[in-house]
């Protein structure tokens, strides 16, 4: 069985997902010792600006200027509005060159070897449902259900999947959900029409579970730790992170938090890129 990690990087003029992917691919090699492939519309940019040998395969997709936009924060006080090019994740099953794939967001910074055990597990689909805010001061409810009345939240940030007929159906279902997104926004009482992979995956899981909670997806090993884009990644040395996390009720003020040996979803991509640039 072939196995490897898969990243998707489509730059939007404000954020350099390719740079993040190169950085993450090196860490995947270091901590998990598996190859990484990339799905991107920026093949030439990779070849010109980076060591392309960090990638096992470079899978080219066409450039599109998507209508999906959102605000990307860099700490509490600053944000930019940019394209949110997140609609290729649904193709991961079809495009992955591996039998066993660890699909990762480029801002999920691997810092330990816990995900090695995904490949040893007999569970064909693994995702996080519970998550832990490093700051631990914010209301976590938006990450428990898709909305107040809606279904359980699953994170599409990290997905382990094997190529099986059932998982093929699962990914096809996610495509169907994306194609009929506004219908699902209405039926699942979502608060925003912005397409989000977390939501599409969660809806598909809910359906695959027979419209109820169930065990169609198994939990990934470890805990899903995250910092939101209103926090700032200040320093990263090997597996040691220093964050400035926003203070409760004091906008623009921060508290320093450090972690060691923990893989972390760093949603402030601007600060992540600054750290990468300073390496």
């Amino acid at each position: 069985m072939t196995k490897g990690a898969l990243l998707i990087a489509r730059n939007n003029g404000e954020l350099d997902y390719v740079k993040q992917a190169v950085f993450l691919a090196k860490r995947i090699k270091k901590y998990l010792n598996i190859p990484t492939s990339i799905i991107t519309d920026s093949v030439d940019y990779i070849k010109e600006s980076f060591d392309k040998t960090v990638f096992d395969e470079i899978i080219k997709v066409e450039y599109t200027n998507d209508l999906n936009t959102r605000n990307f924060y860099d700490g509490t006080m600053f944000y930019k509005t940019a394209n949110f090019k997140n609609n290729y994740r649904i193709n991961a099953y079809d495009l992955s060159p591996y039998d066993e794939t660890l699909l990762l967001d480029t801002d999920y910074i691997i810092s330990n070897d816990l995900f090695k055990s995904c490949f040893a597990s007999s569970n064909d689909l693994q995702m996080f449902t519970k998550a832990h805010d490093v700051a631990n001061i914010r209301d976590p409810r938006e990450f428990i259900h898709l909305s107040e009345y809606s279904i359980d939240f699953y994170w599409a940030t990290v997905v382990f999947f094997r190529k099986t007929p059932t998982n093929k159906i699962f990914f096809d279902l996610i495509k169907h959900i994306q194609e009929n997104w506004y219908h699902y926004v209405s039926v699942y009482q979502l608060n925003s029409t912005l397409f989000r992979n977390d939501f599409a995956f969660s809806i598909a899981i809910h359906i695959m579970n027979g419209f109820s909670s169930g065990d169609f997806v198994s939990p990934l090993p470890g805990k899903h730790l995250y910092t939101i884009d209103k926090d700032i990644l200040w320093k990263l040395t090997d597996d040691k992170f220093i964050f400035l996390v926003e203070k409760k009720d004091y906008a623009g003020e921060y508290t320093a938090v450090s972690t060691e040996g923990q893989s972390i979803h760093v949603m402030n991509k601007f600060s992540l890129e600054r750290v990468i640039d300073n390496e």
Binding site: E148, S150, V187, Q189, S212
Partner: protein, 284 residues
């Protein structure tokens, strides 16, 4: 020798609500999912001829109606033990639907002389942890019993429990003064009275099981659904989708087990006709 077993419901209409109609819908749902299960109704109200044969027994309320002067007619609940035609009885509230085969519950319940549910679930299938409606239990260390679905076998112990329940329900203010110091309800609650009896008889472990997931029910009171703010009605928040096969989704969640819908206007004529049509079809 097999003991007789069946479901028993008490239904007394008031000016606003036909609890007999609710009992008929419950019986229809039961016959759909548990065709061999017997059900009897205790009522002094009339039952539509169309639905009479859903019930194996139509039993008059014994010894006079203790709830004549009240809107929320629960005062006769303690009589159910005495008038049940079955040796083993599951008592259900009328505002419930049985959405799956519960025949295996009888095997589990045979281990008990009396059993009360202590864990109930949200429409999303999560165990209810909120105490919005249960402050009297939590703040007075009363066992967290739900009488909406409970079981008894005709036995000395169950008779003793129900004899005490009669005493407590008929003198509920006095017992509340003794057992409920904090958040004392101003009405007679069967759940609270049963909890007080459980304390008096020191029998919580004998009549409940905190580990098992069933027998239980989905409890649709709105302020235990893990919503962000308190609501007046759950039907204002999530949709009800009742299909032609009598499958029920609430807010995209397929419902199974027993649904305690709690809001009287949940019952719609098409639900009755759908179930009835399926029963007629099955009979043919």
């Amino acid at each position: 020798m097999n003991k007789s077993k069946g479901i028993l419901v008490l239904a007394q209409n008031n000016e606003k609500t036909s609890y007999v109609q609710q009992a008929c819908l419950l019986a229809l749902s039961l016959k759909h999912t548990n065709p061999d299960c017997k059900i009897s109704i205790v009522t002094d109200d009339s039952i539509s001829a169309k639905y009479k044969n859903l019930f194996d027994n139509i039993i008059e309320i014994p010894w006079q109606d203790d709830a004549q002067d009240t809107e929320w007619k629960i005062q006769n609940r303690w009589k159910l033990y005495h008038c049940s035609p079955y040796e083993q009885t599951i008592v259900m509230d009328t505002d419930m639907l049985v959405l799956q085969d519960i025949s295996t519950w009888w095997d589990f319940l045979s281990n008990y002389e009396l059993f009360f549910t202590t864990n109930v679930y949200t429409y999303r299938g999560k165990r209810v942890t909120g105490d919005y409606y249960r402050k009297a239990f939590v703040n007075n260390n009363l066992p967290n019993l739900y009488s909406g679905v409970h079981y008894f076998e005709k036995s000395d112990f169950a008779l003793e429990f129900y004899t005490w329940l009669e005493l407590v329900m008929q003198n509920w203010q006095k017992f509340y003064e003794i057992f409920i110091e904090h958040d004392r309800p101003t009405w007679c609650s069967v759940d609270v009275c049963a909890a007080i009896v459980t304390v008096i008889l020191n029998c919580e472990d004998k009549i409940s099981n905190k580990v098992v997931k069933f027998p239980s029910f989905t409890h649709m009171k709105p302020n235990i659904q893990e919503w962000y703010t308190n609501k007046d009605k759950w039907q204002d928040c999530v949709g009800t989708y009742f299909n032609n096969n009598a499958g029920l989704k609430i807010g995209n969640h397929q419902q199974t087990g027993i649904l305690h819908y709690t809001e009287n206007d949940f019952v719609k004529p098409y639900m009755l006709s759908t179930y009835y049509g399926k029963l007629e079809h099955d009979r043919k």
